[in-house]
Amino acid sequence: MPLEPSSNFTQASSWANDWETLFYFEVGIFIFFSVLIFSLILYFAIKYRRRPGNEAAPPTKDHLPLEVTWTVVPAAICVVMFVWGASLFIRNGLPPAGATEIFVVGKQWMWKIQYPDGRRDINELHVPVGVPIKLTMASEDVIHDFAIPAFRIKKDVVPGHYTTLWFTATKTGTYHLYCDQYCGTSHSAMVGWVIVMEPAQYAQWLSGGGGGGGGGKSLAAAGADLYKQYACSTCHDTGRGPSFVGVYGSTVKLTSGQTVKADDAYIRESILNPSAKIVAGYTPIMPTFQGQLSEEQILQLTAHIKSLAKSDADGRKVAKP
């Protein structure tokens, strides 16, 4: 689908405005000190140039108050920048509860986007305007980096880890998406578009209108299929392994006596490296699925397990067995 950016570089997220304010503050500091040093050098160079009557310079005396001044003043300015930058960073660190979750898998050299209801995109991310979006990102191979300059955000996509990135788009339009971490031969072709739509348009697009990768099953349904295909039920539905009903988001007790929150990263680790954290009361008998499941399939399985934690058709919380 040929696309033209409606705007190459604009402030299209809530964070972008805060970012610009701080950036221009630092540009101001940059200009002030650059101009100060350049002017002083120029002024001294002209005024004190060697010429008749100025062949010898008077000896230099150290001047402690000056030294203190140009230590303390830059230090104070640095503290301001540190605190401002850190507080902005912290404030935008965690996605708000209830953010729409979209999954991103990076691989040499494409971005695979999965929406919870099963819609897929390659190198295109469709999002509604004004809604907080949380991206959960994984890599199939090397380190990539998901960067959207119009939103002023980026985050590495690291194999073996989940990383997250969140934003609220504030302007509809089509924006550049880049891989910012060098990832091999076609690194500079690992680019795409972020398409910010009106919510109604987005809903229509999600339900199958307007091209893009074909619909298919929802993530959770695809995960349920994998669950059968890999015979997970042989143990996990028979009591040999822990049941998954109501597990997602809960706190799990381990044989080591520690506890762990059952989140995406924990489930991923338990599939790939099952003996790392054993649930209390069970023995480490599960084989590893390293190399058998792709990152996308792990995301699907996780979505399936997540769906088991949700309330059932009558709206009651499903009881733990």
Partner: protein, 540 residues
């Protein structure tokens, strides 16, 4: 203007250059001055190799779709450029050439503490360089980026990673031994009366650099071994598919890598102190503050590595700590800039070529340092990380800082090394070309980065073309500025006017002996009775 180019007649009858003849007397020499020349020849070669790679890159980036080379070749070019410039040009540039030549001369010694070790360092450097060049010539190059990030380098890249990593591994030992040699030399071989606080500031910066060499270089050596073990024998250190963690590599690499960039710029700071003092006829303002700021930079440089990982998923607390220390390391740099500027006040300033480089250094280093503050700011880094902003920033430090310092130093001590002077007019033209070409090359890259253009892209969206063409135009001016000195310096070594021991009217022991110095440096061991840069005390 000054007594700079007055011909004083004849060279000393015997000096270190004509004391013996034949290639053996050079390749088996233990004279620190001759070893400096061996390094000079080697790194000049590497400089133009790295420069050729940069030329291909800038030519390719004139067109958004790449005008010249395939992306796979482009990737090999920026990897070659980075590795050569950092490990085989900048790291040895000022320390191994000027440091080797000058440290014994500046402290009134006959040679460094371990002359044979000094020669061994050069051979290790050449061995590392040869292995590295093998990866380029016979192996078709390496395409991992100079940072060797895993698991790209350890598992996925199918270029010649092994021999490139081996070359880096080997050459690191050269720096370790050089650092060791310098530290012992400065501690034990200073002339009578030359106390620590009478040392020229160049020696303080060489001392701080040497400390970083012996602490940081072993870490890159270890990291390269782990990388080679994983790539060759599939030990699982970094690749999650083998049970490793790719972030571990980044911690190890940048624990070396950030101190390393101070290794590159600290020596240049030392050179600048010498130049500013000599050409303004003033003792450096706030001598002890400038001296201690070198040591402070060396110490703090080991506490900032995590700022390379703000967007890697690093924990919030790590981010806060590393951001804080990254701001802290800016303070000693600021102190230096203010003191250099204040030195000019009420000076008697002349503008020979070395001084032009020195003034250019202060300006460009100031801009490079200030843009570093953007990157130290957690929130700002989130957007500009891995874009051209960061490329521009570190080139302001590495080229605007380190290379300008190196060229300034070479021009300043050239008459000491050769006994002859180059054409000051051509040298000034080249200095101005380098300055203008530099600004035009890297200035636009800040804007490109702000607009979001990622680094290491062989092709790019068309809206970035104008700024890229400007940058390439600047690079062509810069290239001319680098080639001109090569010509007039070589010419002057044979035909330049003979200028005597102290053509600049400078202070410091190296200017009290003949140019070129005798093999043993001084006829009699000098005794030091005054501060460094004791201008205006009536002794000149």
């Amino acid at each position: 203007m000054s007594q700079a180019v007055q011909e004083v007649g004849v060279l000393p009858r015997v000096h270190y250059l004509n004391a013996s003849y034949g290639w053996k007397t050079w390749l088996f020499t233990t004279d620190h001055k001759r070893i400096a020349w061996l390094y000079l020849a080697a790194i000049t070669f590497f400089f133009f190799v790295g420069g050729a790679a940069a030329t291909l890159m800038r030519l390719n980036l004139i067109e958004p779709q790449g005008s010249l080379i395939e992306p796979s070749t482009y990737n090999r070019m920026f990897t070659l450029h980075g590795l050569v410039m950092i490990f085989f040009f900048l790291a040895p540039s000022i320390p191994a050439v000027l440091g080797n030549f000058l440290i014994p001369l500046m402290i009134g010694a006959k040679d460094v503490a371990f002359p044979k070790l000094n020669l061994l360092s050069w051979y290790i450097f050449m061995a590392g360089g040869t292995v590295f060049l093998y990866s380029v010539i016979a192996g078709g190059g390496v395409d991992t980026g100079w940072t060797f990030y895993t698991p790209l380098s350890s598992t996925y890249a199918n270029s010649n990673v092994m021999s490139a990593a081996m070359g880096v591994f080997i050459s690191g030992f050269s720096s370790i031994l050089t650092g060791l040699n310098f530290i012992v030399t400065i501690h034990t071989m200073r002339a009578p009366g030359l106390t620590w606080f009478r040392l020229p500031l160049f020696l303080w910066s060489m001392y701080a650099t040497s400390i970083i060499f012996i602490l940081a270089m072993p870490v890159i050596a270890i990291t390269m071994v782990l990388l080679m073990l994983e790539r060759f024998l599939h030990f699982g250190f970094f690749d999650p598919a083998l049970g490793g963690d790719p972030i571990l590599f980044q911690h190890l690499f940048w624990f070396f890598g950030h101190p390393e960039v101070y290794v590159l710029v600290l020596p240049a700071m030392g050179v600048i102190s010498e130049l500013i003092a000599t050409f303004s006829r003033k003792r450096i303002f706030g001598y002890s503050f400038v001296a201690f700021s070198s040591v402070a930079i060396a110490a703090l440089s080991f506490l900032v590595w995590g700022h390379h990982m703000f967007v890697s998923g690093e924990s919030l607390y790590s981010g806060l700590v590393f951001s804080f220390f990254s701001f802290a390391v800016a303070i000693p740099s600021a102190i230096k800039v203010f003191n250099w500027t204040a030195t000019l006040y009420k000076g008697s300033i002349s503008f020979e070529a070395p001084m032009l480089y020195a003034l250019g250094f202060i300006g460009l280093f100031t801009m490079g340092g200030l843009t570093g503050l953007f990157l130290a700011t957690l929130a700002i880094d989130v957007h500009v990380h891995d874009t051209y902003f960061i490329v521009a920033h570190f080139h302001f430090i590495m080229v605007g800082g380190a290379v300008m310092g190196y060229l300034g130093g070479i021009h300043y001590w050239w008459p000491k090394m050769t006994g002859r002077m180059y054409s000051d007019r051509w040298a000034r033209i080249a200095a101005v070309l380098v300055f203008v070409g530099f600004i035009l090359t890297f200035g636009p890259q800040f804007i490109l980065g702000y607009l979001g253009m990622p680094r290491r892209y062989a092709v790019y969206p068309p809206e970035f073309q104008t700024l890229n063409v400007l940058s390439s135009a600047g690079a062509s001016i810069l290239a001319v500025g680098y080639v001109i000195p090569l010509i007039y310096l070589i010419w002057s070594a044979r035909y330049g006017p003979v200028v005597g021991p102290n053509p600049w009217g400078a202070k410091g022991l190296e200017w009290t002996t003949a140019s070129p110095p005798p093999t043993e440096n001084f006829e009699v061991t000098p005794v030091v009775t005054e501060e460094a840069y004791a201008f205006g005390t009536g002794t000149e």
